[in-house]
């Protein structure tokens, strides 16, 4: 069940839009924060609060990549491998992280602490190579920096 705070947040969101449907994207973020990922029950709950057909929520959730359809680790490490990062050896950074965590991209460590992903450009190309861990950007990466960042999260 969604917490009272979450339900209230959804009601606040509702005031920002003329249609209930417009609330789906912000509400999916609320679900993701509450449950860690987008659960089917969570989607049904928001459909109910917004008084819309659940299928409308499902179809939005599957289109956008930032809604996690399954659980991710406590730290979601997303390494940019697009062009500007790649020119400055973003793939090497990915390798270093992969070795350090003992997992490949799209995998989660057995202790559920880290999930590793590759992502398309995150709009931080001038400070490439870069990665994002949860909401935070880490820029101008090199081996030593990556090592230090990951150690600090251990």
């Amino acid at each position: 069940m969604l917490s009272e705070a979450a339900v209230n947040e959804i009601k606040e969101i509702r005031k920002r839009y003329v249609t209930a449907r417009s609330c789906i994207m912000p509400c999916l973020y609320v679900i993701q924060r509450e449950y860690g990922y987008i659960t089917e029950d969570g989607m049904r709950e928001i459909a109910k609060i917004l008084d819309i057909n659940p299928i409308l929520v499902f179809e939005v959730s599957t289109f956008y990549t930032m809604y996690n359809k399954k659980p991710v680790g406590k730290y979601h490490v997303q390494v940019c491998t697009n062009i500007s990062c790649s020119i400055l050896d973003g793939e090497h950074i990915l390798d270093v992280i992969s070795k350090k965590l003992g997992i490949k991209a799209k995998e989660t460590t057995p202790d559920k602490k880290f999930t590793l992903s590759t992502v398309e450009c995150l709009g931080s190309c001038g400070t490439a190579p870069m990665m994002q861990i949860n909401d935070k950007y880490y820029e101008n990466l090199n081996d030593a920096k990556v090592e230090e960042i990951l150690n600090s999260l251990r």
Binding site: V60, G123, A128
Partner: protein, 423 residues
Amino acid sequence: MFEPVILKNINVADSHKLSTYLGSGGYQGLKKALDMTPDALIQMVKDSGLRGRGGAGFSTGLKWSFIPKDATLQKYLCCNADEGEPGTFKDRAIMEYDPHQLIEGMAIASYAIGADTSYIYIRGEFALAADRLEDAIKEAYQKKYLGKNILGSNFNHDMYVHRGAGAYICGEETALLESIEGRRALPRIKPPFPAHVGLFGKPTVINNVETLACIPHIVNRGASWFASIGPAKSPGPKLYGISGSVNKPGLYELPMGTPLREIIYTHAGGIKDGKKLKAVIPGGVSAPMLTEKDLDTPMDFDSLAAKGTMLGSGAVIVIDDSMCIVKAALITHEFFHHESCGKCTPCREGLDWLVKVMRRIEHGQGKEGDIELLEKLCVDIFGRTFCPLGDGAVMALRGAFNNFREEFDFHIKNKRCMVNGNR
């Protein structure tokens, strides 16, 4: 000497706070604008010559003037902050370091077109920027720059942040509208254009962050000040984001039309590690690449179009001679393939096919006839897709072919890379 205006506060402590913004003359433009008629404001923006900084380069004042004048009609302004074109990182800086500049620009634009509500559609990954915008909007409400009877006028305006969730296509304006309306971001057919049937079916203007950030300065300093910077047909200050193989990558505010050579060698400090420049993508990955011989091209809409490429977002990506163009092209096309919304067949199937062929070439399994196949696919995709995403992919590939065809041929013939020998 050109003095930055959009980035002038970027290195000031607490540049994102209202107090800092006010200290540098913030919200004076809004005050002045509210004393003008909406028509006079639109004329001023037209006279300034401002062209949209999102990529298309359409006249901003003209776009505003398409909004019906009927005062009883609900109208909207949407800020396109879905910065997602690889190489581009200019709008994030404005939102993180000077969110009030955007808010002021949006309030003025909304007044000009008669919109009582606006949305900032920001890409989901920009969490810090979204937080700062939310905080800045709160501050602006408190000081009556937003809300009811703004600064004692009759103008009411509400502003909201709408976070995207990871889909490049949302940068396409009609897909952006679909996304705010709570749907999959599939582009709409045009016409009708958003100026007549936009958000929730109402007249809507969609402007890029950098475009809107220019507005307070135009109102403050006048249209002729803006028009006097850079080339007559696309004037104004411009943010250039330089990334890739240069010594000083970053964001530079320079007059529109600054030559590519000056941007790369004077401002960005030249090529990294003493390497040689091989190619430059001038405006984000959709823009066909240029080479050494084109470095004296002024970076503005028309000069780049004349070279068969485009200014796009002003994102300059520098590729040095240690990078294989086949690989660069593959990375770019993996992106387009991943981001195709799937609505139309030429883009959905075409890019999938294109990427499959490019992958095998890159991995040393290319076959004779593959280049011809890619060229044929380009013909089949270009101009036949629902929105410009497919065209962007084709233009990028054609740019690579035009300049570096021999690298593709070498890959296929020798089953390895011409540049670093890799298989």
